[in-house]
Symmetry: D2
Subunit: 329 residues, 4 copies
């Protein structure tokens, strides 16, 4: 089953792309109008490359000149500000680290909305608070533009291979236009509802993932201490009602599965810091909508403590190790 989260053993992105890879596609550029791209980080850069590869002229910008240079070398036109991108393109993607960046890029003094043309399609793939997505959509609407949120699941590898999953929120009539671009960069594009629901879907999935992972870690640890063989316990859970993605696909107890972070000292995978960030969004969103999330909230606290106790850069399944009594104690 296709899984929306970064998968550590997915095929490597392969050799570095060179300009010649884009020869064929640039030939067909004449028939495609340019696409703007703001935010050329670890995720944005391979996403923009996949647009180029699919024959779209790309007008790009980023605060780091090196990121721009790399994309320029393979055919993108680089400009100085998000506002200039908006002058030259009527379809724009943004991929930014967090809410304040999104607010700046859209509504700041050199922002997209200062120069946006009527009818422009704006797609934000950042993972942010859905309330900010809705604010941006309202601001865009005032300028006659359309804003959609389209956060992704899948890590850098999936971005390079155009295997991302996009969860899209926004006006349904514009979904087809968005889908045309997103399918160049992803394997799954799911329409979720009005603006903000793409973010909501991602936040919800990752919260339940976090709960399932800690729950599986606790359960595997308890079972082992009660004398059960870890592989047998996993097998029993997976044929029973305890089954979940963390038990059957990404088991956190070393020795149960191969090709997962727990088989590799919790290297790679989905870092505890990133999970803590997503749970922070879930927490804020729940607080602001007055929704009780007792387990989600405790999961957030646990990953937050782990970040302070040396697990920040390990895969989030290292919670198994965090909870486990050390050998010899």
């Amino acid at each position: 089953m296709q899984c929306l989260i970064a998968w550590p053993d997915c095929p490597k992105p392969g050799r570095k792309l060179h300009q010649k890879d884009f020869l064929l596609s640039t030939r067909s550029m004449a028939s495609k109008t340019p696409v703007g791209f703001v935010g050329l980080g670890n995720m944005g850069s391979p996403m923009a490359k996949n647009l180029l590869k699919n024959g779209y002229p790309v007008i790009a910008t980023d605060v780091f000149p090196e990121s721009c240079k790399e994309l320029q070398d393979i055919g993108a036109q680089v400009v100085d500000t998000p506002g200039e991108v908006a002058e030259k393109a009527d379809r724009i993607l943004t991929m930014l680290p967090s809410s304040p960046n999104v607010i700046e890029v859209y509504t700041g003094p050199n922002g997209i909305l200062k120069k946006v043309k009527k009818g422009t399609l704006l797609i934000d793939s950042s993972t942010i608070d859905p309330a900010v997505s809705r604010e941006m959509a309202a601001a865009a609407e005032k300028m006659g533009a359309v804003f959609m949120d389209a956060p992704v699941s899948g890590g850098v590898g999936a971005a390079s291979l155009a295997k991302l999953t996009f969860m899209v929120g926004g006006v349904e009539e514009e979904y087809n236009a968005a889908q045309e671009l997103l399918t160049c960069m992803g394997a799954n594009v799911v329409y979720c509802g009005p603006v903000g629901t793409g973010q909501a879907a991602k936040i919800c999935n990752n919260m339940l993932l976090a709960i399932g992972m800690i729950g599986t870690a606790e359960t595997m640890n308890l079972g082992i201490r009660l004398g059960l063989d870890p592989k047998l316990l996993a097998k029993i859970l997976n044929m029973s009602s305890g089954r979940c993605w963390s038990s059957d696909t990404y088991n956190p107890a070393p020795g149960v599965m191969e090709g997962v972070p727990s088989a590799n000292n919790y290297q790679g995978g989905f870092g505890t810091t990133l999970m803590a960030k997503d749970l922070g969004l879930a927490q804020n969103t729940a607080t602001n909508t007055k929704t009780p999330i007792p387990l989600g909230s405790l999961a957030h606290q646990i990953f937050r403590v782990m970040c302070s106790r040396g697990y920040a850069n390990k895969d989030f399944s290292s919670v198994f190790q965090f909870l486990r009594e050390e050998e010899g104690q």
Copy 2:
């Protein structure tokens, strides 16, 4: 996939059994030695009937005379005490509500171990603390008998239909002998390891189930409040890393699935009280082995509060309702 937990829409146990149902089997009784059965409650009674149906002479006892009478009417021999059962049978099953009952039935003044014959096979299907199972095994060993724990998954319906799942802990050499009897009463028999590991497996599964259920309820509720359609959200979770048994097989949000308790005002299914009892065992076991179970422990507290707030007899998926703001507030 076969699921170990009581399933509310499973086929009804069918018509009441009468003596003639057992004619064929009683004819073959000559070739089978008697099996003892202590504890003829909601679960024990249909289990004992399935032994009779399979041709085993049954020597039974229970503290409630009515329960004995019913079994006597269809061919069982009824005696007064567990000790007497032990005098007449060298394979004995016990199915009792909780640890103190098990201790009494085995080691009490009229208990099995007062009269047990050397070599007797004792199988306890009660759900209790694995530490008590180990104590009983040690006490049995002193008398030259063999004790195994074999708690079940599946409710009264599964017991009647001989569709239970048994998780068996005990000496491996005796497993075949136990399996012969247990397959008369269940569809799955899983060997888990030394004495107590059957209990451990059941406790572990139900703890992870409880965590997954509350997590799913929180997630569905949060998503709905963020504007997602419940069916769509469930679909997204189930194709993603948030997937778990509670999201894809027993979804707690009304309107997402049919044939589950959430579609029927949380009637039937697996009661909150029973889940709270199993989580109490998980909690005690974890405390006594010094194992941290932060989410398991919080899940326990949540179901415990629910028992006090009017959800005791509803299906445990009613945690969705418990967490949800009431209409009109």
Copy 3:
């Protein structure tokens, strides 16, 4: 010991104030420059009255005309917008329900900062996110004005009696000027540090209060179920290391103390909704500063669930009742 939280049995605010009450003070008005006041709700209205009573001319505004009318009747000058207040007064207090209101009143199109005079002292007594206080302070500084946060402890009764406690954050040099006004409305004024620390102090205190209250409720309930007399248990805790404000001053178990909400079916006091709001601020603040607050976070979730289960308007010590098994179960 003076306590910062609303105290249910504090002396009633007494008879309604009439214009003659202000005769003496208005006579001395000539020597005092006007003070602006924005937000004449349950708390703001008695606070503004105390300024009048102390001889300060008050320039007031509120979105509800009735609130303005009442204050006008006793001598305040009413204007239409926060901006107009800022034109007429160089010391302004604001008392608003939440962050968005504060942002609107300060930075909105008719906001204070649109018309503020250089050197104006702005004091915000709303309880909001300290990050918003810092934003307002930065925006005020650009206009040459000074912003301080000064949230209060104490309810409507304390506001009427000028017995509030103010926790003040802001530039230390301006503290004396702020203190002069705040002492007209409160019994304690505590300087906490730079802008935002007043909010921080209030949030911290209320988070620890919430934890102590739930902890006391759990402890009293457990002790009672273990056979202890509630009064005796409270006495033992209060002479021991379990002692806290919730055990010795505001005990949540009925029958232990008089004059507290638990003695009056949890009427009056500090509502569960308000506590949930303050814990939401603590939660957001902790999330945004990446600070783990496991118990604070769980306390938040518990009060949030209580709001949905019918305890919204009861005193927050009703958590004792929420956790308790009902009679007859």
Copy 4:
């Protein structure tokens, strides 16, 4: 205020006691009947010495011969088994590590109850599950003896100085007889109610203490990260409703108070392991009485994780350090 918990800076127990210290008291022994003492560990040994010092002949036993030797040297009569103690004394104190030891010493093959004389007063100062205390009381009653539970607060220092606090449960008519002995070893003796309530009081106090300590640690950490000075924050809390023993007497943030473990790298004081043990008793007791303790339960899990993460032997206030992000991260 006298505090029931071990206090790290209490006066040292002073010079080692020698036989001559007991000369005066032994002279008066003729008029006092012997007292039995079982369990001469870190706590039991100084307690037994205080009985000797007060002129009571002591009949003692312990599984470790060295412990017996030390007491023998200063005048106690040493015997081999608890049963022999019961033959020679009609007032017996026991001070043992945990429930299984208590069960063995009272009901084992060489146990007290095998030889106890009618009318003997049995006082158990171990900290154990109150249900075990009740079982022992019932077993004693069958033999015509009286059992009381009298767990202590205060550590080894308080035991040496006869400054312990005893929380006593048992038949009220026997309380005076118990008090006569206990006042030789403690400064406070509190009657709590029927058998088991002494344990209940201790468990309840320590649970609330644990909650208050973690809550204080979270609050101090959050406040510091929000820019508050730790000493000022403590002062504000202590004059407000956040006040508790952990904030005003044993503050966990370094630099706030002197003479507490937080001022000494969390050395000394009350170890995390011991707190986790007491919370385990609270947890088991709550589970067995079906009492929800959400915060108590989470506090238990946090101290349990700390034990596995290197905090086992630090004072329990080191939870402040556990939750805090390390410098430089």
